[in-house]
Every structure is written in structure tokens, then in C-alpha cells.
């Protein structure tokens, strides 16, 4: 009874179009807003109304929250939390919270010191500090309510991901696939921060929380798959981290998340499927029990993490309405999966893919091209598409129930891949890789695409010179917003992809746009500028903050620094 009442409250909260209370707008991770004041006919009049330097130069992934006339912004390390008063002219701060974050974290974050955002629940702003702490901050006063160490930074565990809150559970995961961590998710008590359960992504069933009475994977059978699909003890430093996005289905009471790469990159050191790395897992929030799991890339040979968002939608697939999750994997395939069972309904490439010919829907397994298998004994394996950056990296797609389309930021790059044998040394990287990139077919390095997930078909594409590293936002105004690495924030027509508006925001965009209604009754848009989030993006002279660090440019985009440099800025736009 209490649970169902809470559920109604939560649903009502997330259904409010005027606010933005969780990272992906709603539990379904649609990044769709019902606001329509800004639309295709007036978006040309959109103008910048406000900006704020965060004082931090690292990659500004993630997105603000807007709750109760206040905008909350979490910066990359050192993870300052700003609370802007939207009722006052100039939006001055109500307060700011400056945690004491261990600088050691800078060396344990593989891919820039990013933070992917906060979650509002029960009057608290809940987010992760990079050094392995989860904090809850009173949204009204900025006072810390609790601070829990969830990860061990000295073992290579770090926490850039945004938590998910379901009822009284805060769910967080660890990064560290490049440090040989053993990936997990944990469930914390929202009131106290106490850790109530820990679920590993690999290892014995008891620690994966895969109980025979509740764990029913669609394709796989047998006990302790998280242990037996590895060499002895391989799972103990096998990666399978959680650094992406979580979603939740209240009706099924399941939350979904993807896991990252198995470690190390040299697949010959870890013969087997390496479950449940590069997988989607469905668990119960109350106790973490695993209900089903599906591995996108068995025996990953290419660093194809699967941490990208799982967008929940009801789609008519092959004539039948199905409750699905839609996932755009790093491996280049877009998956439409029955989210109750884990059955793959559609799996089609959404970018150029050559490591596998197709995904067999009967077995759920990809048909791998043996010529593209990698491993230390194989030397440099040439021309693999997509790169380890993925057909898409963490930058989240959006889904508009109005158009029925998914709007997906993508990369168009291929790579050579050479691994070397690597020794696990605590506190150092566990990688062993040289993988130069090259442009994919067509020469453009990225595109924003519209995707029909029921059919597994691209509807339109906007080619971009550089990889598209920002998230997407879809609105009831018939618009899609996204940003580019060369620093443009753009609006396009959701049906056709026609360019409608753009504005140069001062640094490359790797954050995710949001929209809300301000105290003035107007629809506003917010987005971060601030390139970073991956070392490849910071090659060359993009990074200018350290006189003792001058780097050669990245071969695939030697001129990116001509268009952008580091710098974190929060932007607001309105008509």
C-alpha cells in the first residue's frame, strides 16, 4: 500500500513537463519533453538568455536538473553542485556545495573526470563524486544529508555515472573497466545512504544475485554463467563496469543497465563469453535480484561497452505491440528487446558494422567475421568498424512518442586494433591496446540519425564533420536538439531532420540538452558546453590548461582545436 502510493507520487513527479527531475527526464529514459511552446515555426527566434561558467575545464557530460524553480548543476571533478534561483534576475545561486573529493580520482578515471548528473528524490539531490562516494544534498539548503563510500578508488573504482532512485532505493554503479575492477551495482537506502545490497556483474551466482527461482535469461541456461564463462579467477578483475545510464519500468518493477567491456582488452587472456560484461541486466530495485540478462557482444574483442541507455517504449513490432527496450550499442547494432523477458526482437546496424554480419535472433548471438577477431597473437587487425568509441558512446539518444522515432547521436569511424599481453597491477590501467582511428565511409566522422526501432531502419541522417558526442532532446514542439564537438547547439525538425536553428556555445558540446518551464511561464532550454569526456577528444591543442602538456593532434580530426577548446559553460535559451 505504501509502496503503491509512493509509486503514484513518483510517476506524477516524472510526468510533470515543467520540471526535469531525473537525468533522462523520465524512468523510461526518453529525454522527451511534452513542452511545445518552442516549435518548428518559432524556433528561429530562440536566443541565449543566460550563461554561467562552472569554473571547471573538464568534459561537461550530463545535464542539469530543474526542480521547484531551482536549477541544479553538477560539475565534473571536483563535483561542485550549484543551485541557481530561477526566480531572481540573473539566476543567482541559492547555495553551492563543494565536496572534498580525493584528487587520486583524476588518475583513476579512464576517460576524463566527467560526471553524468544528479537525481532529485524526496527533497534531496543525489549524485556521485568521482572518488567513489555517493552523496545526498538537501535540495532546499545545500546541506549534506549523507555521504557514503560506495567504491574503492585505490582499486581503480570510480563513479562518474548518474544514480537512479526508485522508491527508497538509490542505485549506483562503478566505472573502472580499464583498471580491472569487478563491476557491480549497489542499492542504497535513500534516507540514510546505507548500502543494502551489492550485485556483481560477474562471478558466482550468489554474488551476481542470480537466484535460480528469479533469474530467467531468455537465451542462456546453466548455473554461474558469470563465473564459468571466464578463465579461473578471470572475473575477479574482469571489468564489466557500470558507467552509463539506468532506466526503470514501474509496472514490471525492473531496472535496466548495461555493462562495459571485459578486462583486459587482449581477449586471449580471458577465453570465454565473459558474462555479464557487454550485457544488459534487468534487476529488482528492492533487493538487486537479477531477473534476466542478455549479452550483446560475447567474448568482446573490440572494447564494445554496452553502458548506453536502455530506452523503454511500447512499439508495434511485426504486428504486435510489445513492451520493449531500445539500445544503441557501441558494437554498432541497434537492439529492440522485449523488456519483460530479454528476447531480442530486432537487431540491425545503425552505423557501418563489419565485425559481425548479423545478429541471429534465434540464439541472440552475433555472427562474427573471424577476420576481425583480435588478440595479442593476431597483431594489428585492420579496418574494424565501428571503433572502440562505438557507433555511439555514452551520449544518450531521445525517443519521441509523437513521431515514434529515436534520435541517435552517432560516430562514423573505423579502427585498427592491436592488443598486447597485460599484467594486472592494482591501481594502474589494465588495458594493453593500440587502436588508431580512421574516418568511416563518407568521410564525415559523425551523424545525428532518426531511427525506427520497430523496423530496425534509419529514417533520416544529418551528417556532422565530427563525432556527435552530445545527447539528444526531443520535444512535443516537433523539435530535436543536440550539440556538436565544434561548439554548435542545434535544433532540427523531428520529422524531417531539416536544420532550423543553431548557436555557437563556446566549447564543444558533450552534455545533454534539457527543457523546462521557468517561473516566467516560458519554455527554456539548458545545455552544457565543455568539450572532453574522452582522451581522444582532448588530443592536440584542444586542451590548453596545462603548459607542461602539449600533444599531437588526433589523426582523424587534426583541426578540431581550430574550432573549440576546453571550458565549462551552462547555457539557457528561450524565445
Amino acid at each position: 500500500m505504501i509502496a503503491s502510493t509512493l509509486l503514484v507520487v513518483i510517476l506524477a513527479q516524472s510526468a510533470t513537463p515543467d520540471q526535469w527531475t531525473m537525468p533522462a527526464k523520465d524512468y523510461s529514459a526518453t529525454r522527451y519533453s511534452a513542452l511545445a511552446q518552442i516549435n518548428a515555426s518559432n524556433v528561429r527566434r530562440l536566443r541565449a538568455t543566460w550563461s554561467f561558467s562552472t569554473g571547471v575545464l573538464a568534459g561537461h557530460e550530463g545535464q542539469p536538473l530543474v526542480v521547484n524553480q531551482t536549477m541544479y548543476v553538477v560539475t565534473p571533478y571536483p563535483n561542485v553542485l550549484y543551485a541557481f534561483d530561477l526566480t531572481q534576475e540573473g539566476y543567482p545561486l541559492r547555495w553551492k556545495y563543494r565536496p572534498n573529493v580525493d584528487a587520486v580520482a583524476i588518475g583513476m578515471a579512464c576517460c576524463d573526470v566527467v560526471n553524468r548528473g544528479a537525481f532529485f528524490a524526496d527533497g534531496k539531490i543525489v549524485y556521485n563524486l568521482l572518488d567513489g562516494h555517493t552523496v545526498a544534498i538537501d535540495a532546499a539548503t545545500g546541506k549534506q544529508v549523507w555521504n557514503t563510500q560506495v567504491a574503492d578508488i585505490r582499486q581503480g573504482e570510480s563513479t562518474p555515472m548518474a544514480p537512479l532512485v526508485v522508491r527508497d532505493r538509490v542505485i549506483v554503479g562503478t566505472a573502472g573497466g580499464e583498471y580491472g575492477v569487478r563491476g557491480w551495482v549497489k542499492g542504497l537506502d535513500l534516507a540514510t545512504g546505507r548500502i543494502l545490497w551489492t550485485a556483481y556483474n560477474a562471478g558466482p551466482d550468489a554474488e551476481v544475485l542470480a537466484r535460480p527461482e528469479t533469474f530467467k535469461p531468455f537465451y542462456d541456461t546453466g548455473p554461474s554463467l558469470g563465473e564459468k564463462t571466464w578463465p579461473p579467477d578471470g572475473w575477479k578483475h574482469g571489468g564489466a563496469p557500470v558507467w552509463g545510464w539506468l532506466s526503470y519500468d514501474p509496472a514490471l518493477d525492473l531496472f535496466y543497465y548495461g555493462t562495459g567491456n571485459p578486462a583486459p582488452y587482449n581477449a586471449e587472456q580471458r577465453p570465454g563469453d565473459n558474462k555479464w560484461a557487454t550485457s544488459v541486466l534487468a534487476r529488482r530495485p528492492a533487493d538487486g535480484a537479477l531477473v534476466w540478462a542478455y549479452q550483446f557482444t560475447p567474448a568482446d574483442n573490440w572494447d564494445y561497452d554496452s553502458v548506453q541507455e536502455m530506452i523503454l517504449a511500447d512499439l508495434k513490432v511485426k504486428g504486435r505491440t510489445r513492451k520493449v527496450l531500445v539500445h544503441f550499442d557501441k558494437n554498432g547494432f541497434a537492439y529492440t528487446i522485449d523488456r519483460a523477458t530479454g528476447e531480442v526482437l530486432v537487431a540491425e546496424p545503425y552505423v557501418v558494422v563489419n565485425w559481425a554480419k548479423r545478429v541471429d535472433l534465434k540464439t541472440g548471438r552475433p555472427e562474427v567475421d573471424p577476420a576481425k577477431l583480435t588478440g595479442a597473437s593476431r597483431g594489428s587487425v585492420k579496418d574494424i568498424c565501428p571503433t572502440l568509441e562505438g557507433g555511439k558512446n555514452q551520449q544518450p539518444a531521445a525517443y519521441s512518442p509523437r513521431t515514434g522515432l529515436f534520435y541517435v547521436p552517432t560516430n562514423n569511424m573505423c579502427m585498427d586494433y592491436q592488443t598486447t599481453p597485460t599484467t594486472y597491477i592494482v591501481g594502474t590501467p589494465f588495458i594493453g591496446l593500440n587502436a588508431p582511428y580512421k574516418p568511416g565511409p563518407g568521410g564525415n566522422l559523425g551523424a545525428l540519425i532518426a531511427w525506427n526501432a520497430a523496423a530496425g531502419k534509419q529514417v533520416w541522417a544529418i551528417r556532422e564533420k565530427y563525432p556527435v558526442w552530445s545527447g539528444a532532446l526531443a520535444t512535443a514542439g516537433g523539435l530535436v536538439f543536440y550539440g556538436t564537438l565544434d561548439g554548435w547547439f542545434k535544433a532540427v525538425d523531428a520529422k524531417t531532420g531539416s536544420a532550423l536553428w543553431k548557436f555557437k556555445v563556446g566549447s564543444g558540446v558533450v552534455g545533454n540538452p534539457i527543457t523546462f518551464t521557468g517561473p516566467d511561464g516560458k519554455q527554456h532550454l539548458a545545455v552544457y558546453a565543455g568539450i572532453g569526456g574522452d582522451w581522444a577528444l582532448l588530443a592536440g591543442d584542444v586542451r590548453s590548461d596545462d603548459p607542461a602538456d602539449v600533444r599531437p593532434p588526433l589523426s582523424v580530426m587534426p583541426d578540431i582545436a581550430r574550432h573549440t577548446s576546453l571550458g565549462g559553460i551552462v547555457w539557457l535559451f528561450a524565445l
Binding site: 594502474t428 589494465f430 600533444r551
Partner: protein, 143 residues
Amino acid sequence: MAVRVVAAAPLLALVVTSAQQPPPPSVRYEQHVFAGGNPPPAGTLENPLAGDKRAAADGEKLFSAFNCDGCHALGAVGGQGPSLADGRWRYGGADGAIFQSIYYGRPRGMPAFGGVLPPEAIWRLVTYLQTLTPATDPATVSW
């Protein structure tokens, strides 16, 4: 045990446990400002293998075997950690400064390797890094 051998790495033969090793002497950072113009009395560390080509080649292997390239990238051109090949040094480029960066670590994420690598091996790494030649004009990028 801090090092767990997953793959065979022959260079681990160079490694002995640090317990038997005397710590390096305290050193002065020559690039620091000396208050009153007076350098503090302290020793300096000099690379006993400076210019030794075989030591540099060993150092390059150690650079991969001990996962230095995981952060600083192949060729030490910079990744998550800064470039060590640009002729510029955040914590000083003198023999002793580079040695101490590796031995004791640095606060912005550089692990301390003095517990898994003996001074002999660290000097080989220093020798390797000192052979890296910066690009001719790293200060200017033009299009």
C-alpha cells in the same frame, strides 16, 4: 601482494619487493623558488644510466609492462595522463624529479611505483623518457 601476474611478463624478473630496497635520499627540486634565494640543503639524484641505449630500450618495455602506457599512451604522447614526450614537465624534468614522480607518485593521479619497482628499474624508465624527442615546434599549432 601488490602485483598479481595474470600474463607472463618477462620483465617482472627485474622486479623485487621494495622491502629490501633503501629509500632514495631526500632531494631538492631545482625548479622550485627558493625563499631568500637560498636552496635548502639536500641531495640531488643523478641517473646512473643516463644515455645508456640498452637501459632506454628496457625502459620502453617497462613502460608497457607496468601499464604506464595505459595512461600516458604509446610513445608517452599523453592520454589520461600528460604527455611525457613534449619536453615539458609538470613536476620537473631533472633526473631526480622524474625518478621521484615514478617512485613516490604525484597527487593528481600518478600512482607510486616505488613499492613494485626497484630504483634500478625506475632509472631505466627515466632513461627511456629522456630519449623521447619533442616535436620541433610544440608551442605553435596553425591551420
